[in-house]
Symmetry: C2
Amino acid sequence: MNNSPIGVFDSGVGGLTCVKELAKLLPHEDIVYLGDTARVPYGTRSKETIAEYTAQDMEFLRGHNVKMILVACGTASSVIMSSPEFSGNTEPSYSGVVKPAANAACASTKNGRIGVIATGATIRSGSYGKVIRSIDPSAKVIGKACPMFVPLVENGYISKDCAPTRYFAEEYLECMKREQVDTLILGCTHYPLLADLISDIMGDGVKLISAGAELARFAVKTLTFSDELAEREEQGSQKLYCTDSPELFSENVERFLGESFSGTVEKCVLTAH
Amino acid sequence: MNNSPIGVFDSGVGGLTCVKELAKLLPHEDIVYLGDTARVPYGTRSKETIAEYTAQDMEFLRGHNVKMILVACGTASSVIMSSPEFSGNTEPSYSGVVKPAANAACASTKNGRIGVIATGATIRSGSYGKVIRSIDPSAKVIGKACPMFVPLVENGYISKDCAPTRYFAEEYLECMKREQVDTLILGCTHYPLLADLISDIMGDGVKLISAGAELARFAVKTLTFSDELAEREEQGSQKLYCTDSPELFSENVERFLGESFSGTVEKCVLTAH
């Protein structure tokens, strides 16, 4: 057993969809979360800039003595897969959302047609396609960047009846319907907040895969297998850090974690690499 | 006369609306522009973070030996007005968009009812209201944050027939129509790209003030008065710097400057203060 906290980070609040699932599955674990809100979003930036920010985020979590790092950001997860500076063994180990989500999608699909919606940087990286085809070379992968989804979610336009959100969703998902995908990866951790609307457009026959939730499930398996689960009676603590104002961050936390959140929110400073 | 370049900066590409006007009015001036694209947008961040980024932007332009700094970002212009670290005399002098735009609005209004649309940080700062009331204490100022406008413009949804853009514009401008403003300040330098749509909603009777263009006009007056205009026969050069990928930045430059742009685009690194 290992009572050190689990470290989770994202460019902003999206990664809290992973924290929510993690806290449900492993209520006794301490969690340290970092949202790089002074530089969110990552998904519109270049690979080099995202790699630099990601390295700083990981360094911060290492400083909190975490036993595992979860990269709960689809963009950062995609970029580190093809950046040489992240290819060595690291202590502690880290996992991104791409492999867990790709595995879940391959297990779910019946017709071998898998859709991926994500940020521009994630789609440009081709990360999901590479991993899916390494599992199932015959799978057809259809990727689509959805640049308006993050600002819509960050500003609370998430209702399935919200006209502009539906307009963009219909535009982005048109190719997924045409290609008859039966499984759709929500490859950015903001997107599960739009799941109702996306389901409504895609229909009941299409299975949605939440990248953040799949990462949480992967963490449970890994910690169980390596016998590193925490051993304590009481509920684990949740410490959230952000790089911009904690007040602005807190406004969004409830939208992601629900009203039950009882952890702390604090500002931190990241060190340039 | 002074042949040093004029320095202009913004969080991203929005400040190019000021560069465009400047190049039209003063074609013989050299211009150095900085867009902090690795950290755009500023308008959703806290005052403290915006002040820190702004100080780094100014430092960069000083390093290019500019004769004047134009803060072509409504958010940065608003934050520095109430941040003590910017209150001293600096060399070279700098000017933001708030005072030039407020002056133009006060000169334009007939009924004393002035609207201001801008980012969340600008509206929270109350900057435009303070300056307008210092010019005309009886003016009524109606401010409205329009957080979806920057992502809509950055993603090219600027046509007046674009349904979601119109949806948000109608939502944001409803209070301006109700309050019967006759002058509306576009307080964020991205917004002039939505001028057609905004005019369509507000009607011909409402005068739109472009903060970036007013800043350019103010620079012309200041340089003329202090006898610091450049003296050269040929057209001035335009050097654009950005903190993220020049390729990604260039995609947006044409949208703002038009197809005539013949300057250079380069990546730069800012120094932490």
